[in-house]
Symmetry: C2
Subunit: 542 residues, 2 copies
Amino acid sequence: MMDYPLLLKSVLYRANTIFPEKEIVSRDFSGIFRYTYRDMYKRVCKLANALQRLGVNPGDRVASFAWNNHRHLELYFAVPCSQRILHTVNIRLFREQLIHVINHAEDQVMFVDEDLWPVIEDLAPSLPTVHTYVVMTDKDTLPETSLPNVYAYEDLIAGESDSYTFPEFDEWTPAIIGYTSATTGLPKGVVYTHRGLYLHCLTALVGELGTDERDVTMPIVPMFHVNAWGRPYCDTWVGAKQVYPGARPQPADLCELIHNERVTYSAGVPTVWMGILNHVRENPSTYDFSCIRYLMSGGSAMPASLTEAYHRELGVKLYQGYGQTETSPVTFVSVPKAAMDSLPDEARFRQLTKTGLILPGLEMRIVNADGQEVAHDGKEMGELLLRGPWVLNAYYKDPEKTKEAFIDGWFRTGDIATLDENGYLQVVDRTRDLIKSGGEWISSVDLENAIMAHPGVAEAAVIGIAHEKWQERPLACVVLTPEARGQVTKEDILHFLEDKVAKWWLPDDVVFIDEVPKTSVGKFSKKTLREQYEQGLLQQAQ
Amino acid sequence: MMDYPLLLKSVLYRANTIFPEKEIVSRDFSGIFRYTYRDMYKRVCKLANALQRLGVNPGDRVASFAWNNHRHLELYFAVPCSQRILHTVNIRLFREQLIHVINHAEDQVMFVDEDLWPVIEDLAPSLPTVHTYVVMTDKDTLPETSLPNVYAYEDLIAGESDSYTFPEFDEWTPAIIGYTSATTGLPKGVVYTHRGLYLHCLTALVGELGTDERDVTMPIVPMFHVNAWGRPYCDTWVGAKQVYPGARPQPADLCELIHNERVTYSAGVPTVWMGILNHVRENPSTYDFSCIRYLMSGGSAMPASLTEAYHRELGVKLYQGYGQTETSPVTFVSVPKAAMDSLPDEARFRQLTKTGLILPGLEMRIVNADGQEVAHDGKEMGELLLRGPWVLNAYYKDPEKTKEAFIDGWFRTGDIATLDENGYLQVVDRTRDLIKSGGEWISSVDLENAIMAHPGVAEAAVIGIAHEKWQERPLACVVLTPEARGQVTKEDILHFLEDKVAKWWLPDDVVFIDEVPKTSVGKFSKKTLREQYEQGLLQQAQ
């Protein structure tokens, strides 16, 4: 067979050749913007020519700092397809993290959405490698700035030719660089190759979960975070109508876009789906969601109550996917097998909250502390190891972290999981959050879920604290609802748990706190909790 | 990203890990055979171990000569996944072609279905490289044979271990070798790599046309011909229930399997669909086809009347794909875009008979006689050139044919096509069957279709014959229906065509023949017709 490289330009080629008339909708700063794939292709060519003019060479890094909109989509194609590397900077990182990742990636040009410009303008003195800034605005004038070499996006591309010959190069060439959201330490860089993204997207298109020309897709998952789960490439490849929800979309904005544009597929984190559900509950009979084929949740575990509410109240299928920055990201998807349709409701919804079935092309091992594969019985826990064409082989310029992350050529996900008889993976905890008690493992996540089922509990995080005899024992850190404060006691919580978890899982102590500390992307920061405990702060909060 | 090779063992791995309970149904010589993916995996391991015992080394060729059944499926996995090469011998080849391809591929072991064994036993003296034969029978005893080294399949694998470690090797390693069906000359060999088949199958699974775990698939397209269009790998990868229709399936067998097994997807040539349609018409209210999601036609052009009859009479979607032995085979699929749903019926059915939209990952050029790309207006004709990861780079051990088949790194399909504004390809003729008249091209296929619309015409083939002034002019070779013989004249045919084709397209002559000569796979052999014309035989037939 031909030595034909797997490059992202294949995606662009097909879209422009056979779907030129299909539509892309973008919630821009001034309203709803619409254009066709043909227009998009021409502007991608102009942008590639502009990068040439700016002196950006093959392999150079170009950063984006932007929401989900059509200009960001143009960067997703123009930068990698012209053999440069797109660094999608996570706009939610803290100041010192931003400075770190931009310098670490050695970005030369930064494309910044107009409303985010003040953040970057302020950082500019700390970004010595960036020689050019481009503000992505649809206004006629640039924001005032004292920085030199600042362009407006539309001005930058206006004079360029709308024709460009995309080069052919090795499929192992980097296309995108992204950074982890850093639950611990500084963000780590992951380099996505053309080959990896190509295969990731092709696989994400397989079967019931694949989108096609008939779909209207809306990626809510940010384009500044793990390639927006691959959606921009997937949906362009198949010629779907695409809807980009723009800056700071609120539940009302998203509901309107679904309703008006007849969205059939969308992807986002559980918080987004929770927000939309609440908005619809508060505004009944306002939106018609009958257009939706299904929705995809990911980024953190989806509560069974959420998928159940979507099914029962909205008549909408809500599935979940699983992955990591290190894996492009999608590796598992929880779609029910046909045989499960006849399960009773409760069992079916529980099934949907499983982490899912492994995607075609990937290989897994689930190993216990001795490195032995666990039984596929849905019970025995082990660390999930992965191999595959879209799993990283190294952190960017970080041999030390790389060394820790691999064992015998397998990527250590850091997640503890079980695999059931039906082939469904269930992630039960993070390796570092698992509580090792007397040679056995306690899942902090399971304990948290059990505690959060208490009506007076708003949030709960469980951490392992050192214990002389048992090595570690669980400590529950609980945030009560306003109504329950001063009413619900430690004993109430422990009593509530008694018939829900094994006796030896019962926390040694329960402390009440005002809120669970969070990371930049809103995940529980148990690292902070453990530090607070060590400093004696948790006891005081009680 | 990891240097993780694209190997067919990924297909087997996923099927066995997450779909072990799914079913494979095979119409065996003694009846309907059923087993699970788990059973299949174990028998594939046994077979791989048996090949080891027979002394078949990595890279050695193992031939199959068989129908679509579960043992053939086992060969599809055991041979390539253990780094040997499967030669799927086309059982429809003529005797001298069979001898040629088996010797050309240097097959060492041949697996032969029990009913086909007499053919191969007879050829054996002419097959010096084959040292072992395996008869695929479910009976206890082997057919009597004077050949040494003949095994029964079940005996061969019975004593082997059902565990086998599939090796990891380069993705460019050959997996399957197949031969063209030889419309002209001797069959040419095409080597399919693991990488090529992997990508071909992943792409074939994309979107509406992709199968998934919920599907029940029945490949009618033979496994002895161009990888059964990739179905065995596709459907195993996604865990579909698979139904293999066995030896010489008749329309009644196929209808029963669809009805009984609740088939949702099937693939075959137009003749098969015609046979099933007629059988259902003759046996109304016998079969329930409501299970069918859609059917795929390929191998030769699908008449509009056929897809229309399926839609109207059976309520079943019949789409078509296009491809060649040289392209693994699928390259285009004719699935309607959403916007076409609102077309009037006639236009919609005509749309469905277009050759289709190019698959993700492939690249095409349509060039005129000067090598210039034609306009994408649905009118201008040119030769279709293709590039892509599952397009051949050379004919096996045939540098001369290889040289003819490529131009600037593009594969010359030998098909003349147009591309319309919606991105749909339409193949209008074979390069060699196109009639070059006065510097313009006449499509012999279009002319044939126009002639075949005459109620008295059963079949028609149009060939170009040498002409002093115009270079070539069309000659129509027409087979009349029994009723029309002696009634319909040459003048009737020409008159019938007058308002259907351009005046200069009208055939210079019409000859009536008894039948159109066919190739081994049932295609019109215009080569034979041209030879007959040169020998003055066509005029006599008139």
